[in-house]
């Protein structure tokens, strides 16, 4: 999921994100950032998540695992 981290960093407008990075700590993690992330995982991984499903997700690592689990499902 290194590619996922790179793509998410781009959306969050930072050089890199770590597994334990808190999503809420990024100023770019607003409604536009969430939409951009949802669009990215749709086009790159074929996974459709709603913003409601993302409300419980706190860290970048949790986000990555959610995408990964939905990919297998």
């Amino acid at each position: 999921m290194d590619e996922f981290y790179t793509k998410l960093a781009e959306i969050l407008e930072v050089d890199e994100v770590r597994e334990d990075s808190q999503l809420e700590s990024f100023p770019a993690w607003d409604s536009l950032g969430v939409l951009a992330a949802i669009a990215m995982i749709d086009s790159s991984y074929g996974v459709n998540l709603t913003s409601t499903e993302l409300t419980g997700v706190k860290t970048v690592g949790e986000f990555a695992r959610l995408v990964e689990s939905r990919r297998k499902a």
Binding site: P27, D30, S31, A36, A39, D42, S43, N48, S51
Partner: protein, 360 residues
Amino acid sequence: MNFTFRDKRIAGILTVLPEHEQKFADDMRNFDFPKARSLKLKQVMGYDRHRLVSAGTCASDLAVFGLRHLFEKGLLTPDGLDAMIVVTQSPDFFMPPTSNVIQGELGLKQDLFCMDITQGCAGFVVGLIQAFLMLEQESVSRVALVNVDILSRKVSTKDRNSYPLIGDAASITIVERGTDPSPIYANLKMDGTRREALMIPAGGFRLPSSPETAVPEDVGDGNFRAKDNLRMDGTAVFNFVQVEVPPMIDELLAFAAVPIDQVDWFLFHQPNKFMLQKLADKMKVPHAKMPSNVVEKFGNASGVTIPTAITLNLGERLQSESFQVCLAGFGVGLTWASMLMKMGSMRFCGMVDYPEQGDR
């Protein structure tokens, strides 16, 4: 559900745009949001400027102006109309229907089937389906399909989710019997369980407007809106479109037995540039075949965006040439509908500005 229609055509389209143009740069001042993020929003979504009516302007005003324009230019005769379908979510009144208001204002004949349809972003395709059904009757040889919405009057200026993209407009599409041998294909789906993704919560009988429903509430992320205002769940709508629209188009083309590369233009509803480009990518359609320039120039006027995309991008050409076009609308309901048809040799296909009548 699938539909097939024969011997029908679109004879002309006129888009009516309020002349007042508002810039996104000015909207930004109302948002409780860092400027850099507003500029990012502008860049990603393709927001730039939008056309808005003044406070007193109603749906019928835009429609009457457009129809009168066609009568005066000799492009349409009042007595030649047998039906008028008005598709709107912003009627002049709960009762009577806006179609009757327009009929009365223009003094149209009594032998006129007036019908209002409450539909949003799928309203152009739904309206065409209804017009084609009416044309099956011998007594109906020409239908005026009026799509009109003035929803800017229902959107909170402090709601960054909806305000920058909203636009007001009307279109008049003349639908007649035709002689082109190729049938018109359409399909349509609806899902009322997801009806709350796009709604105006207050103002109907379920929750009448009151001083309480007019109070702007902090809905998070720096946005404020009242229950009287339009509410859109942006990510839910985005997902709905990406999940439902591509298979709908696949089914339409399979039903019509037309390969995707034989479609000249994909004239889709215009929610914003971002959503359309993602849709084009998913469908593997070149961006050049799917115009996405309506929101940046005029804003999103729900059911009017497809006719606006047509008159803006193909207005001149459709009067002399003919194209295989695929239309698709998706939104309120939820509703998603598409249509494959030959479009061309129109008597008119253009746009006019509606002059402001009063103070803004």
